[in-house]
Symmetry: C2
Subunit: 213 residues, 2 copies
């Protein structure tokens, strides 16, 4: 398809598409003349992801480029490719390793991962920004006087694992590793707010079932 059609199908203006081409976020189309190029479905879904990263993730162009570099990196194994693209999203800062609450929280996370048998999460603990986010969230609870221990978290971790299995099942439905990685990134930005709203609605429903209106 030509530029005008790509703009129509993606809902992105031709001016923005040209900007993304110049910024290296969108791969060039196949040249079919001195001033025209032909685009395909891969451009449509790449534009979809770029819009999600910029308009929902509010990422600067340099970060978008970094995320897309991993999405496009054929040399990576599938899990590393997904992980690298996700880890390039903005993350919580490293918590102070000397802080008492952080030390205690890290310890609880260690016990939790042991209890649920998440061996990879345990092995990657010093690298993963996701692990760091969990430690930081638990340290905040602890610091504010609401301590949570590993035993209490085990059933929650198991429910979240069921959600993760379902997410990856739907990611599998996409044919290439590139598209799978795109869906993983879009999911973290767009689907997580849906889940959070569902959970809050479930709490309202359950409170009324228990206590009446």
């Amino acid at each position: 398809m030509r530029l005008a059609e790509l703009s129509k199908r993606s809902g992105v203006s031709t001016a923005s598409i040209k900007h993304y081409l110049r910024a290296g976020l969108l791969p060039p189309g196949r040249r079919i003349g001195s001033t025209t190029a032909e685009y395909d479905d891969s451009h449509v879904h790449r534009l979809r992801l770029i819009r999600a990263l910029i308009h929902v993730g509010r990422l600067p162009v340099a970060t978008v480029r970094e995320v897309l570099r991993h999405v496009d990196d054929d040399s990576l194994s599938r899990a590393i490719r997904m992980g690298a693209a996700l880890w390039a999203l903005p993350q919580v800062p490293e918590p102070d390793p000397e802080d008492e609450a952080v030390i205690a929280a890290r310890d609880e996370v260690h016990r939790l991962l042991d209890a649920v048998g998440w061996t990879t999460a345990q092995e990657l603990s010093s690298l993963s920004p996701t692990h760091r986010a969990l430690v930081a969230a638990l340290a905040t609870l602890l610091r504010l006087g609401y301590p949570l221990d590993a035993e209490l978290l085990v059933p929650y971790a198991e429910l979240m694992h069921q959600v993760a299995v379902r997410d990856l099942d739907s990611v599998e439905a996409h044919p290439t590793d590139e598209e799978k990685t795109e869906m993983v990134v879009a999911g973290a930005l767009l689907f997580d707010p849906v889940l959070q709203a569902l959970l809050r609605l479930a709490r309202e429903e359950e409170a009324v079932r228990r206590y009446g209106l």
Copy 2:
């Protein structure tokens, strides 16, 4: 306990405690002299919640006062009291009701709530900011070209309901309605980030289990 002890037990400076007393966020202690007052455990847990609202929720004092007014409102039934306190937290703005994506998203939410039998959520749909947040999140997905239909969301809603049941079970452990409502508010601010981090960690674990490192 006296002010100094309250400060020590709550981790809040005496200057901040005096500020919260003057601002009407913390109920006064029992007067036991012209310049001294006696505080109890209810002051300790109220300070814990105030700290969570101000430091994690980043709420302005007027909003904190509004949330606490509902926490303290004995005239409300338990579910309404919890709901009112939660709804006083900052919420997503009302989405444009004429917007096509919003109309389609509201329709999918309606079908979802029917399918899972959440009748209260359905009845409160025009009032609840939680319902509005779900519609807004689905409308964003739709607008960006990642439509989600009700059927796909049903199993997720059921998993989130299991999480909600567990949350309310632990809220029940607190003796008074006031403390129960405090825990519901603290949970929304502090526990939801723990769940999100757990889900992201579960996805990393599951990706490596499926695809290797």
